[in-house]
């Protein structure tokens, strides 16, 4: 029996939820409320000491890192055809996923939080919020929350995040002009991994991700959004508890090279 510890069907959590629905495996859902800092609780840190969602539990083994979870699920279900067989195509699936992880995930966190998380945190009791952020036991996870609580986004940080988004979106636009999907002729986990990030960026960075500047990327999101598995995830009341557009700090920006 699979168990998924997840937050809203956005970002990294959406990736794995979509993959689970695509392969059709049943799973037990555990909602972890990231705005209540439940991902930093002692119970959750037992599952993932890095304090990041989602976590997939299979036969008692807790696994993390959404791109790797989707590879695990796709490899365990070859009949789902979510991973190509050819070694070069597989390499390209991994490289697209890594490129998205390193450039989009951190940038989406920065741009999305500045626009959407800052006002949400303003409504919190500030002393309580400060205390909770200070108590986060994983040092790498504190910076993003401190920044959002203080609305401390300098021009260089924003420019760097936008530059990375544009880099990825331009590459995707070029790839999707030639093909329906990112790798080869079929929908794969490369598409699943990129989709929630691009969806988030349509809200967080509409001046970069839009119909005019990236028409093929937008067409690709529309094709994915029509898939039954994706519709099931995005519309499920069981998965969605918070109503607004939801953003939390993502992985850190790279510190070196």
């Amino acid at each position: 029996m699979l168990e998924l510890y997840h937050w809203e069907p956005v970002g990294h959590c959406a990736r794995v939820l979509i993959c689970l629905h695509e392969i059709g495996d049943s799973y037990r859902s555990h909602y972890v409320d990231a705005l209540l800092f439940e991902q930093y609780s002692a119970d959750f840190l037992e599952l993932n000491p890095l304090g990041q969602l989602p976590v997939l539990k299979s036969d008692g083994v807790a696994m993390s890192e959404s791109t790797l979870l989707n590879e695990y699920l796709a490899e365990s279900h070859p009949e789902s055809n979510l991973l190509p067989a050819d070694p070069i195509d597989r390499y390209n699936v991994q490289v697209w996923s890594k490129f998205v992880d390193y450039n989009l995930a951190s940038s989406l966190g920065t741009l999305g939080c500045r626009k959407y998380l800052v006002p949400v945190l303003k409504a919190f009791d500030q002393a309580e919020l400060k205390r909770k952020i200070a108590a986060i036991p994983v040092p790498e996870r504190k910076g993003g929350w401190e920044r959002a609580a203080a609305n401390d986004y300098d021009d260089e940080l924003i420019a760097n995040a936008e530059r990375k988004v544009k880099l990825v979106v331009d590459r995707m636009e070029a790839a999707l002009t030639e093909s329906h999907w990112l790798v080869g002729k079929n929908y794969s986990i490369a598409d699943i991994n990129a989709f929630p990030m691009i969806s988030g960026l349509r809200a967080a960075a509409p001046h970069i991700v839009n119909e005019n500047d990236a028409p093929h990327v937008i067409g690709w999101t529309a094709r994915i959004a029509q898939r039954p598995a994706v519709r099931a995830v995005l519309s499920s009341r069981d998965l969605k508890r918070r109503k607004d557009t939801v953003f939390i700090p993502g992985p850190e920006h790279s510190r070196w090279g």
Partner: protein
């Protein structure tokens, strides 16, 4: 990022690499472990070979290593390992079980995204920067301008002009220490990084940790990190490792042999 084309696989692969260290070390060791014959194209990072037009015509990102196999060009070293294991004959470097495969990749991500950048920042501040700073300032400036990726340009600028901040070096030191503890804990649970067999995770980890008993002698030694030392002894004993270090041209390879002597074989 470079997307590779599909290829015909009968041709001999060519590997553009620097020292058998960090990212260059991963595909060198993977190819040697599998017994794949390849053309070694030593690319001198300290002479900025990888930013010269000839190299950029093969890998426009100007990163090392690059694997050329038929008309496929692969530039991501961790994922290259999986390609090498899938595309060539020889002993398997990926585990059979899905869970161990996940763990192998988890270590790859941890090493590439967390441990590696911090260790590299320190390594570049003490080795790469000092090794190139005496060159002609005008040549250095031109070399920086030619670097295609902004992140790499920023790293080289810092190394050449020695503008590392005290706080960032201290934070990198903290992360390296944290990583050492995570490695020790992982190897306390399983004989190899991913599980019961030697895999790409061990190769990746070795390329980042092989010099730690010398560089971080105070923290990585038989008393403080017995599991990590025992694992390093087992990896150093593999014939592919000695063969890999023979491809090195700087004192780094000799240093690896010093480390091997320092940690011994555990039977003393």
């Amino acid at each position: 990022m470079h997307i590779a084309r599909r290829n015909s696989r009968s041709v001999k692969p060519e590997l553009y690499h620097w020292e058998p260290n960090a990212n260059s070390g991963k595909p060198i060791i993977a190819l040697l472990e599998k017994g794949v014959a390849f053309e070694s194209r030593y690319t001198d990072m300290l002479e900025f070979d990888h930013h010269k037009p000839a190299y950029l015509s093969i890998n426009p990102d100007g990163t090392i290593p690059t694997l050329v196999h038929g008309d496929s060009v692969l530039t991501e070293s961790t994922e290259m390992g999986e390609y090498i294991d899938a595309a060539f004959e020889g002993p398997a470097l990926r585990p059979e079980r899905a869970e161990e495969r996940w763990r192998m990749r988890w270590w790859g991500k941890y090493l590439d995204g967390y441990f590696g950048p911090s260790l590299s920042m320190i390594g570049w501040s003490v080795f790469v920067g000092p090794a190139v700073r005496n060159k002609d300032p005008e040549e250095l400036r031109r070399n920086i301008e030619r670097i295609p990726l902004k992140e790499r340009r920023d790293a080289w600028t810092k190394a050449i002009y020695n503008t590392f901040g005290e706080a960032e070096l201290a934070e990198s030191g903290r992360r390296v220490q944290h990583g050492i503890a995570v490695f020790e804990a992982g190897l306390g649970q399983r004989p190899w990084f991913a599980g019961n067999t030697y895999t790409l995770a061990d190769i990746n980890a070795f390329c980042m940790t092989y010099a730690l008993p010398l560089m971080q002698a105070e923290f990585v030694n038989a008393a403080k990190t017995p599991k990590l030392i025992d694992w390093l002894r087992r990896v150093y004993a593999r014939p592919a490792i000695a063969e890999a270090f023979r491809l090195g041209r700087t004192p780094m390879a000799a240093r690896a042999m010093d480390v091997r002597k320092l940690i011994g074989d555990g039977n003393a």
